[in-house]
């Protein structure tokens, strides 16, 4: 099997040699091949024991061992499903570039899409330090290439470079962490970590990993690349990046914490607080976006926060020696990884379909699309309800588990009580803000009347773009209603985090979820009964249509509708300067009794955290660096002199050191 895996990695080059219309099917076949192999490993490790596969690839991966335990197996399923739907969706989506883009561009795109899948597979399977880092780097580079597909647009290229730099900052943290572990224990990779955590203080090492993996995952304040990269990338790439790739950061964190045995309470508290901030502020900032994909990017931050809340709760449960809280927290986190990968990619594909038809991502230019794109609209609605964590869909299940974890810990001690109360409030506020945001997004984009002419020519996307969406919608519904059948697998993964010495309660969560599933089933039954009643009632009465009630004013136009900006206005006033909203308009003067010219009113949001953490320091760095431009003379003899000087300094330092 592993040989076929390696063969496929070479076969990816074939993408360059087939005509444009065959590139996507070939990519799909190769990706299916990869998915088939890795999923079979995943199933094997789920049903029996950890699978080990030895690679015979050259260079860094030579003789590396692929280790597939339950955690890895779970992530493999997420990766494969995410990539396959992404490639399926790309068939219809990439059609709009066929007239402007060359064949090589498509080759590059599909080649790196495959390599993104390979790299993510390697990231979750490799345990040794260097091969892991190389796979991590391939993942960053291939996603960079995917983001800059429209690189002829200058801002997209800039965004890509911004992303690339941040990914390398992340790489630096992870690299430093692995180097430290290897220096102290002599064993590279995650295996050394187990020994390191036994003998050395855990918190600094964990923080190093948390910073590195946290940038990838997008925890606030390390989130600033997400809102830039997701809108820039083609939609199927945003889908796979937000749904799957940022979960590699979560994988890293989950892997690292599995070795932790000391300072659990402190680390759990740190993770919980950072995650709470991420979830609340992620969704809070999302409300102020009027770029549909940027809004979804901020929602990724929120959901990463919710996953982190689960991890933090689980860690605190472990610190308390309480297997129930531990299992509930980690199961909620792991299930939310899957859930978010589903509804977020569905949302991005729907947003992509809207962009594909209307060529704008600005929600204030859209409206009334439900009449033109009914299927896409209903799927967007389904995913919106799911991402808000509302029943009966999958998002509710993972939040339910985390809530239950919090409530189980409320009576432990004063510190935990207050911390968990904070967690409960944070999670509730996040849920409320998410409802605020998604009713806004769905309402402005799909409901009401069209705000501009851009929607005039929109119609439902072809079935090739609907198919992947339906494929994702099915598990969203199934996990929601049949959660108790799936949860033993998730719980099986979470048992690896159980506190030492405690016996794993066999099947703890499934009996909790069973009555919930019954209740949700009954709720759907009730809905059906009510709909049937309504259908009968509607048959016997007269149905008429008319204009929307305008309080007696007959001159209503679509411009009178609420927009994304006005919808967010009351929250903006409430939160004052926290939202970072900036408005630009030409105010009406006192003598302007009848203002004649049409005035512009523009708003945009500034991410203050990004400004403080990234933009201002880099500006400062640049001003310092610019002072040294005189060194860059362009004369070769000067550069040789610098080299000589450097060697001299090193030599001198060696002498000093020897003394």
């Amino acid at each position: 099997m592993v040989n076929i895996f390696e063969a496929i990695t070479v076969l990816t080059l074939l993408v360059y040699f087939v005509p444009v219309r065959w590139k996507q099917p070939l990519c799909l076949v190769l990706s299916l091949g990869l998915a088939f192999i890795t999923t079979s490993w995943a199933i094997e490790s789920f049903t029996s024991e950890t699978v080990n596969q030895q690679l015979s690839m050259p260079f860094w991966f030579h003789n590396s061992v692929l280790v597939i335990d339950k955690l890895t197996a779970f992530f493999l399923v997420v990766i494969n499903f995410g990539t396959l739907t992404s490639i399926l969706f790309s068939r219809g989506y990439m059609k709009m570039y066929e007239s402007t883009k060359r064949s090589q561009d498509f080759s590059l795109h599909y080649f790196f899409l495959l390599w993104l899948q390979i790299a993510m597979t390697l990231v979750v399977t490799l345990q040794e330090g260097l091969p892991f880092l190389v796979a991590w780097e391939i993942m960053s580079l291939s996603s960079f290439m995917l983001v800059i597909f429209e690189s002829e647009k200058k801002e997209i290229l800039n965004t890509g470079i911004y992303y690339l730099i941040q990914m390398h900052v992340a790489l630096f943290f992870v690299l430093a962490a692995f180097a430290l572990v290897e220096a102290k224990t002599g064993i590279s990779g995650f295996d050394g970590l187990a020994i390191y955590f036994k003998t050395y203080p855990s918190i600094p090492m964990f923080l190093l990993f948390f910073a590195g993996f946290g940038i990838k995952a997008g925890f606030i304040p390390l989130h600033s690349w997400l809102p830039h990269a997701h809108p820039a990338a083609p939609s199927h790439i945003s889908g796979i990046m937000s749904g799957t790739m940022i979960k590699m950061g979560i994988y890293g964190i989950l892997r690292v914490v599995s070795f932790l045995n000391e300072s659990l309470m402190e680390i759990g508290t740190i993770v919980l607080i950072v995650s709470l901030i991420s979830s609340v502020f992620g969704v809070f900032f999302a409300i102020f976006q009027h770029d549909l994909k940027k809004m979804l990017a901020y929602h990724s931050i929120e959901n990463i926060g919710i996953i982190g809340i689960g991890i933090g709760t689980g860690l605190i449960g472990k610190a308390l020696g309480n297997p129930v809280i531990c299992l509930l927290g980690f199961s909620g986190a792991i299930l939310h990884v899957l859930n978010h990968s589903l509804f977020k990619s569905l949302l991005f594909y729907c947003a992509g379909s809207v962009y594909n038809q209307c060529h704008t991502r600005d929600v204030n230019e859209l409206g009334g699309l439900i009449k033109k794109m009914p299927t896409t609209s209903m799927l967007f609605l389904l995913a919106s309800v799911a991402i808000c964590g509302l029943p009966p869909f999958n998002g509710f299940i993972s939040e339910f588990l985390i809530y239950k974890g919090f409530f189980s810990g409320l009576d432990k001690n004063i510190f935990i009580s207050l911390l968990f109360l904070g967690g409960i409030i944070g999670l509730t506020v996040t849920g409320g803000l998410a409802i605020f945001c998604f009713t806004k997004a769905f309402g402005i984009v799909f409901l009401g009347a069209a705000r501009t002419k851009k929607t005039n020519h929109a119609h439902e996307v072809p079935s090739s773009m609907l198919l992947p969406k339906f494929l994702i919608a099915i598990p969203i519904v199934l996990i929601g209603i049949g959660s108790f059948t799936l949860i033993p697998f998730i719980e099986g993964i979470a048992t690896m985090y159980l506190p030492n010495g405690t016996v794993a309660p066999i099947n703890l969560i499934s009996p909790i979820l069973q009555p919930l599933s019954i209740a949700l089933g009954l709720f759907i039954l009730l809905l059906i009964v009510l709909f049937v009643w309504r259908a009968f009632q509607q048959k016997s009465v007269v149905i008429t249509t008319g204009p929307t009630w305008g309080c007696g004013y007959a001159g209503l136009t679509p411009e009178h509708q609420y927009t994304s900006t006005t919808f967010a206005d009351n929250l903006k006033n409430l939160s004052m300067s926290l939202s970072g909203m900036k408005t630009h308009y030409h105010p009406i003067e006192k003598e302007d009794i009848f203002p004649a010219e049409k005035r512009k009113y523009e708003t945009h949001q500034v991410d203050e955290l990004e400004k403080i953490l990234i933009l201002n320091p880099s500006k400062l760095l640049l001003t310092v660096m610019l002072k040294f431009t005189f060194l860059r003379s362009g004369k070769i003899q000067h550069y040789i002199l610098y080299g000589l000087g450097f060697i001299l300094v090193v030599a001198l330092l060696t002498i000093v050191n020897a003394l």
Binding site: F407, I435, L516, F523
Partner: protein, 302 residues
């Protein structure tokens, strides 16, 4: 079955009692107790007028809103008898089901494509977001004290005989009544009597709904009041009494609750729109105080 049936029956009379009390306080005779009920019955038999702007969402939303409320009734226990559906964590399902209802009510409003309804949707979204933490903190407090996270578990371990529980019961009743007022968009957050669309919250959301759909929404609102009344009643219901006595007490509590709402509405003016968030957030802080009090009582703080 009995508790759910009781809640549904009493909540049908709820709007009638409120209107009657308000009328009597202002010196009018007022309509009969069954008038609001008759209005709903008439609406349920009427035809609909749909705006041409609306879509399928406008037709499914009222049903979903009504279903979430009707289904939430089944979780409410009756003293130490469980509700129709009772399981660990039914509390979260209750809160999130009401959230689902609000979600659909908000997009129902946005579907009409009117500025007024957008305004109502926007306010409803903000207020419901602000009010949710108060409810969750309150029930977090009870869950902590009882050690259970289902309605039944909490209320069956609620003992009125000790003074500490009495204090908490009073706090809880206050918060629940206020939450009920906000959830149902009554004074001081919203005035159901107002005729100016600009100052409405809830009324303006359903401005374009008509006939059967509007009837369902109004029936749902009545049930929502009933649910909160039943929650308050559960704090007061004594244990180990026969069903009839408890049923009588339950009906009495609901009646008093309705009278209190009527009186509060008669002597209270609506707040300025921008003061509403402050008012709603105050409830969360009172709930947080209840939590701290509970911590002190259970000897965890000191």
């Amino acid at each position: 079955m009995i508790p759910a049936a009781l809640i549904l029956l009493t909540s049908l009379l709820f709007p009638g009692i409120i209107t009657k009390v308000k009328a009597m306080v202002s010196g009018r005779k007022g309509p009969g107790l069954l008038q609001p009920l008759y209005d709903i019955y008439r609406l349920l038999r009427k035809g609909n007028v749909y705006s041409t702007t609306t879509s399928i969402i406008f037709q499914i939303s009222p049903v979903i809103y009504f279903a979430t409320i009707l289904f939430s009734v089944s979780f409410i226990p009756f003293g130490d008898a469980p509700g129709l559906l009772s399981f660990q964590g039914d509390l979260f399902l209750f809160v999130y089901l009401l959230g689902l209802g609000k979600f659909f009510l908000i997009i129902n409003a946005l579907d009409a494509g009117s500025g007024f309804e957008g305004m109502g949707a926007n306010r409803e979204a903000l207020y419901s977001m602000l009010v949710e933490p108060a409810f969750v903190i309150l029930f977090g407090t009870f869950a902590m004290m009882a050690g259970y996270d289902s309605f039944y578990g909490i209320f069956s371990h609620w003992h009125l005989n000790s003074s500490t529980y009495l204090v908490l019961s009073l706090l809880a009743s206050y918060i629940l009544i206020q939450i009920a007022m906000i959830e149902n968009s009554r004074l001081p957050v919203d005035d159901p009597k107002t005729h100016l669309e600009l100052t409405m919250v809830h009324e303006v959301i359903v401005l374009d709904n008509s006939g059967f759909d509007l009837g369902l929404i109004q029936l749902g609102n009545a049930f929502k009041f009933g649910i909160f009344g039943a929650l308050v009643a559960n704090f007061i219901l004594p244990e180990h009494q026969s069903l009839w006595i408890r049923a009588l007490i339950f009906i009495g509590v609901i009646f008093v609750f309705a009278v209190i709402v009527g009186l509060m509405e008669s002597f209270r003016a609506r707040s300025k729109m921008e003061k509403n968030p402050q008012f709603i957030l105050t409830l969360s802080s009172i709930a947080a105080i209840a939590f701290l009090v509970a911590l002190i009582i259970t000897n965890k703080l000191i």
